[in-house]
Symmetry: C2
Subunit: 179 residues, 2 copies
């Protein structure tokens, strides 16, 4: 890859980080290109779809989150819950990331290295551990807990509220009654 190409890619990513941070996932690609001092064609060549750009923007943050998932090795139930809280808080505070996390397949990019794929793998490990420990209700799948944690962030931008809702869903809305 040529030096100027790499430089432009970085400038575009920096601009995108800023504008997506302000305007969310719907930030204008044109504006991002302008801010990066780059023609819009250049942006589209480096990132053939909005999805590809978003994935690149959030890649590092998501990787960090996944590393924290791998580092956990305490109580399986508590680990899963804590990590889901973190995930919800992250996606609540990070404008636009939800679209990258929940996005379906996109012909333009390799699904293996997307934010969606990375998060899915990290969650699967924690869910499997919790399942083996028997702390999960029957029939709960990785996609279920991810869906719960991520979808909440479409509803609030407050990390504490997101954490609270995750705890709620995890423990149940219904009050536990003695049996």
């Amino acid at each position: 890859m040529r030096a100027d190409g790499r430089r432009n890619r970085e400038q575009i990513l920096a601009a995108a980080r800023h504008l997506v941070g302000c305007d969310g996932a719907q930030a204008s690609l044109e504006a991002i290109a302008r801010r990066a001092c780059v023609g819009s064609a250049t942006l589209h060549r480096h990132f053939p779809s909005r999805r590809a750009l978003l994935d690149a923007v959030f890649h590092d943050g998501v990787v960090r989150l996944c590393e924290r998932a791998e580092a956990l090795d305490g109580d399986p139930g508590a680990d899963l819950e804590a990590w889901l809280e973190e995930l919800a808080a992250y996606s609540a505070t990070t404008k636009g990331v939800t679209d990258a996390l929940l996005a379906g397949p996109d012909g333009h990019i390799d699904e293996r290295d997307t934010c969606h794929g990375l998060i899915g793998d990290a969650a699967a490990r924690l869910v499997d551990r919790a399942k083996d420990a028997g702390v999960l209700r029957d029939g709960v799948a990785t996609d279920d807990v991810l869906a719960l944690a991520c979808s909440l962030s479409t509803v609030t931008a407050d990390p504490d509220a997101a954490r609270r809702l995750v705890r709620l869903a995890f423990g149940g809305v219904r009050a536990p009654h003695r049996e």
Copy 2:
């Protein structure tokens, strides 16, 4: 209100119902106006914001849902859960309705009669009943259960999946353990 005005309003709503059903809340207003055989200015005069149009499109369905909420008078916990399931199923299958349900205030319209407001009132009654019966976990608010039920539909378009996730959140992801 003049007859032609009312006729146009209905044509716009019919077109909007169709296109929002196909393309979701982001359907092109221009395309809706075209389909209604109406100038775009006419659409904007009748519905000053996308939000106002969406509210009108979904108003009837939401009212029907609210009526069902009012008709419930069995076990408070079961009623609430059943109605939340219905709400989730409705918003999962009805493209675009989530945006109307979760939308914040909009200077253009009276908040009292919006889908958001209607659903909120209906849910509040069920939540209050459940709270009085003591079947809700402490600190659960109306907005919490609404947020849970509605946000799920951003994540799946399958009504059964949405119902399942509501049941999950309601009963808890964590398996109930004897105490």
